[in-house]
Amino acid sequence: MSTSDESRVEPRRRIQFAFTDEQEQFRSAILRFLNDRSPTTEVRRLMGTAEGYDPVVWRQLSADLALPGIHIPEQYGGAGFGMVELCIVTEELGRALLCAPYFSTAVLAANAILNAGSEAQKSALLPDLAKGARLATLAVTEPDGNWDPMGIKAVATPDADGYCLEGVKSYVVDGHVADLLIVAARAPDTVGREGLALFTLGANAGGVERRPLESMDPTRKIARIDFRAAHANLLGNFDDGAKPILRTLDQAAIALANEMVGGAQALLDSAVNYAKLRVQFGRPIGSFQAIKHKLADMLLEVELAKSAAYYAAQAAALDDPEWPALASLAKAAASETYLHTAAECIQIHGGIGFTWDNDTHLWFKRAKSSEVFLGQPSYHREVLMQRWGV
């Protein structure tokens, strides 16, 4: 190949191993906002409410920072950025443990509509989500807790002007406050990958019964939703309907991995600060190698998980063919790291770390529920092996 040929080739888009200055500024803006609006006193107040979020703060993060539509193209009322920016948001929200319907509306529902919806549906549904004017969520998993959409049992039967939904969905994030539900279901008499599709309906439609579940992590509320002859509209079509569902779940796994590394960083910072302050045997406990080495290992683990989460976000943004495998890789890595960091953070705090008044348990519980949300690490490791053809 001659040099002149080469210079005509478009510069290849590549994985970036460092955030751009603009991305760092964006992160700082979110961080400032959250330091101000989501101190742990607010987290504790909101986790005790039925709604679980502050509508004023939600309006501010929608109007001032445009966060719900950060990854939604401008033509649908969003800011026009992509997965990398979406994951910067979730990382920071995870660090601050913000109580808000962001993961449901922006990560799950908006991506589902982007992946499955027709032009008309995207134009009709997305602007309200981008503005934060309407809350939405995605219901895939059923009471059996299977995160693989191939196991979906809910059935959508065609009726006069749409579909009639029958089935039960569970572990639906923010299902108790969502205005719009996106439900994964299958055509009658189909199994496995066949006949799957997504459907939309208003959360207050007839035949929809929502029941908040008592969740271990009160900062992210989940609901069970029963559909009995509920009227729904098809989102997109039935052509390989499993594909947009899987794509949405993979994107969600990456966003969740980034959220988890944000939380893990908060726990690490807390543990390091405490180790510097707490004195036993006449010296700060952070001067003991037993504690130092634990913290060094935690730092290593957090940085490794960050690398996986960031890389997966980059790969998804570039639509690198490997990105779905990397979604599972990042989810498995971040899940184990977050939970381990939380457990070690409690350990370093000693007795006080097991008390309700100490904040560590807030992150511990988010770590525990995120570990299994969207699939446990062992599930994602197996998915990774399959996707890599091992």
Binding site: Q16, F17, A18, V272, A275, K276, R283, P284, G286, S287, F288, Q289, I291, K292, H293, L295, A296, D297, L299, L300, E303, L304, A305, K306, S307, A308, Y310, Y311, L329, A332, A333, S378, R381, E382, L384, M385, W388, V390
Partner: protein, 415 residues
Amino acid sequence: MSTMSEAEVRAEVREWLAANWNPDLPLVEWRGKLADSGWGMPQWPKEWYGRGLPHALARVVEEEFAKVGAVGVAKSGVRLLAAATLLEHGSDPQKKKFLRRILTGEDTWCQFFSEPGSGSDLAGATTRADLKGDFWIINGQKVWTTSAHHADHGLLLARTDWDAPKHEGLSYFVIDVKQPGVDVQQLKQMNGHASFNQVFFTDAKVPQENLVGRVGEGWKVAVTTLAHERRGADGLQPTPLKRGARVGRIHAEERAETEKANQPYKWYPQRAGRVDLIVDRAKETGANKDPFVRQEIARLMILAKSAEWTARRARAAQQQGRPQGPEGSLGKLAASHVARACARVHTLITGAEAMLTGRESPRQGIIAEILVSVPAVSIAGGTDEIQRNIIAERVLELPKEPRFDTGPFRNVRRN
């Protein structure tokens, strides 16, 4: 620092290569041209065989070299650590005397730091240097010395003041290895190879002008060498050369040089665990059908990939000129974890055959060699425990432990 743009650098190096690159030149002659033009180490200062380019532009130069298949300066072994140390702390006559021959590959270097009595605690060195007339007289023992058997010069850390506190009584020298007072002996390792030496100094001589930095400041100088050593140990493979013919005398000479330099370290890839063999081995043994093994393979691959990307993040931050984040200090510790996990999973995949060694064992002994080489990774170049101390104290800024080695070194308890 140069203010040249990437396009200007590219154009200039292309033009220079077009005029000068010739694969039929003798290797040393070509490298001499590289040293004198500054294109061999473009990130070095202009006065000393470089062009003062920032790291990002030095990569551009590397890319242009790769495009035409041009050979670079000698980089193997300890020579670049020596060069970096001399650039920072050496006198002008030292730089003049040593740097060019480092780049041409005419001289080989080794590092006399570790001793039988001071491994992790390098500053506890007890090899002594006593000034007699114009020479420092060296007596003592160093160990784990790579390449000492064919090195020309050694970087030597020795004690010049026994009444000063530990770190303040050391001085740093360049010693001529090929002299009667230096006795180099091979050291056989648990994996059967002998890649390192132990070196005995008996009234060996160092001329006064070979003192690097000032008397008593040897530790400061050694820290520079160690920092460059750790920076180089991020576990990333160098960018492979992509195109360009590999025929010509110069390539043959370079291959011979590389072969000679790497000969004692053929087991190093095995020491790192050979993650590249895992999936193939699992498929060839059928272990990939065992759900437990699949989980363990996935765990390992996740760890190895994450470690690689962490090293890339560190490198990217460095190339953008950003202050190094914590990811920069973690590479060595991450590499230890990867290697240990590899050994575990290789064993899991190999089963009973992991009891065998030699040519009839799996992969002609490579798997066995992995299993008996991995224990070196978490020791060589700073143990995992020392790495954790460094990470905890420098990155996380945790308080230091109380010390028992202050005051005159003479009174400090030692081996």
